[in-house]
């Protein structure tokens, strides 16, 4: 077996095995303990519900994916901009940080009714919640990356007569990239949470909305099918950004595994 293949197996076999084990335990546990389907459906039942309602699930799932990615996109732009600013200037950091913490401490679910009053029921509140919930970790990480540039590194460039913008472009920004990509992996899953929360109460579309309708009809297996779809999409997006991270900032991981 080649080194390459062994490493690939090492990366894929354990996670797959854990996930399978999780579902098997769930299935067996429900069967042995005779848990009512109405309380906790077995994964096979949820899977069956998924196949039965596939045509209803997918448009809703895509709607959720759409609001998530739009909100996440805005969060990246705003997070990088603000993170760069407060990481760069100690004054702005001092001035803005308490306010940022304050905003971040507000439970995002509590904002849903406010957004409904402002924008009505629909896509906008979901996008906004997805944005708000994922914006903070991105900003904080980028700020940390920019602010923790080693003073000696700064001296090397300053002694050449580099401007403050040069310092940011040549050192601050590239140095913040590993922090940025690390935050993206977390932020994208948070973003999902945000849009589903908003859809639960303030939308007539999306997977959150579908789950509310399903539970009001006591279609519990469909609720769980929805949860599984959300989880699967979250894992998929996480994987995309983890791969992107490897590609873009491999130097931060010293090229090894």
């Amino acid at each position: 077996m080649s080194e390459e293949m062994r490493r690939r197996l090492q990366n894929t076999v354990p996670p797959t095995a854990t996930i399978l084990l999780f579902f098997i335990l769930w299935e067996v546990g429900c069967t042995v303990l005779r848990v009512d389907e109405f309380v906790l459906p077995r994964p096979t039942v949820a899977l069956a519900a998924y196949f039965r309602w596939q045509s209803a699930i997918w448009p809703n799932a895509l709607q959720t994916l759409f609001t998530t990615l739009v909100g996440f996109g805005i969060a990246i732009v705003m997070g990088v901009a603000l993170g760069a600013l407060i990481g760069y200037s100690a004054l702005l950091y001092q001035a803005l940080y308490p306010l940022l913490i304050g905003f971040n401490s507000v439970p995002k679910a509590a904002l849903v009714p406010v957004f409904v009053i402002w924008f009505g029921i629909g896509t906008v509140p979901a996008i906004l919640i997805a944005f708000l919930i994922s914006f903070f970790p991105i900003a904080v990480n980028v700020a940390t990356g920019v602010a923790t540039v080693e003073p000696e590194m700064r001296d090397v460039l300053r002694s050449l007569g580099a401007s403050r913008f040069d310092l940011f472009r040549k050192i601050g920004f590239p140095r913040a990239m590993p922090y940025f990509f690390a935050s993206l992996k977390v932020a994208v899953t948070l973003s999902f949470v945000g849009s589903v929360i908003a859809e639960l109460g303030a939308s007539n579309r999306g997977i959150g909305n579908m789950m509310v309708i399903a539970s009001s009809r006591f279609e519990v297996p469909l609720v769980f099918a929805g949860l599984l779809v959300v989880a699967a999409m979250g894992v998929a997006l996480y994987a995309v950004f983890a791969l992107l991270e490897r590609r873009m900032v491999g130097w931060a991981y010293r090229g090894g595994d």
Binding site: E152, S159, L160, K170, P174, R254
Partner: protein
């Protein structure tokens, strides 16, 4: 270059530090001066003054008769740590000053090929052929320090400022790099100020060794080294060299009490 009655005070950790006291030193163009002294005597401060990274509290620093007001573009710096940018290859690290300093900065895009040629040639002279595309973490400490020296020299500075550049290396690598630095200097004949703890290093490389007092630092002794060049490691075991080092060692002993 001239330091005229320079004093420097600064606040550090709530305490007032009197780092340099009425220090005067003049260095001819093309001279190689080593500065030695007990730790914390303000040796590194002198280098920062010369590079324009710090303004003196009293007195002034003149280069070519003009007072230093800010960072100088005709200065190259190397430190005890190589401080390479980990996201850049050895070659790209060497190119960094050319992306900052005028007039190269303006022509960098158009003449990239030519500049790369120039950097490769320099890397070859320090024995790094075949490692130019490697990221810093794949290079040994000695190799990284060679890259750092190349980066300090690529923009053809008139003044080279070295802050204990070999202190973190093992003895064999250190002595090998003495030879590398001597060869570079004999080729370029730029002005060099070398701060070091190692008196053999000072005597091997410099044309003049200055000994500083404890803080607040001032010059207490100068020794001219008129040994013929190029000096070889073999020379360092000859009586003339050993006596010189012994004499400087005596001066250091006096200021340490």
């Amino acid at each position: 270059m001239e330091l005229q009655n320079v004093s420097l005070n600064y606040f550090s950790g709530g305490k007032y530090v009197h780092a340099l006291d009425d220090l005067s030193l003049s260095i001819r163009q093309g001279e190689f001066v080593a500065i030695a002294g007990p730790s914390g005597c303000g040796k590194t401060t002198i280098l920062k003054l010369v590079a324009g990274l710090l303004p003196p509290t009293k007195g002034q620093v003149l280069i070519d008769g003009r007072p230093v007001k800010g960072p100088q573009k005709n200065v190259g710096m190397a430190f005890q740590n190589p401080i390479l940018l980990p996201w850049r290859s050895a070659l790209e690290n060497v190119l960094l000053p050319l992306e900052i300093v005028q007039p190269h900065r303006q022509q960098f895009r158009d003449n990239r090929r030519a500049y790369e040629e120039q950097a490769l040639r320099l890397l070859r002279t320090v024995g790094l052929e075949g490692f130019t595309d490697r990221p810093p973490y794949e290079l040994s400490g000695g190799m990284q320090q060679r890259v750092s020296l190349c980066r300090a020299l690529i923009h053809q500075p008139e003044i080279l400022v070295l802050d204990e550049p070999f202190a973190a290396l093992d003895a064999f690598t250190r002595e090998e790099l003495w030879g590398v630095l001597q060869a570079l200097w004999m080729d370029r004949r730029c002005t060099v100020i070398l701060v070091t703890h190692d008196l053999r290093e000072a005597a091997f490389l410099a044309s003049r060794v200055c000994v500083m007092s404890k803080r607040p630092g001032r010059l207490v002794h100068e020794t001219l080294i008129d040994l013929p060049r190029p000096r070889s490691l073999e020379n360092t075991f000859e009586p003339a060299f050993v006596n010189l080092v012994h004499r400087i060692y005596g001066h250091i002993g006096e200021v340490r009490v």
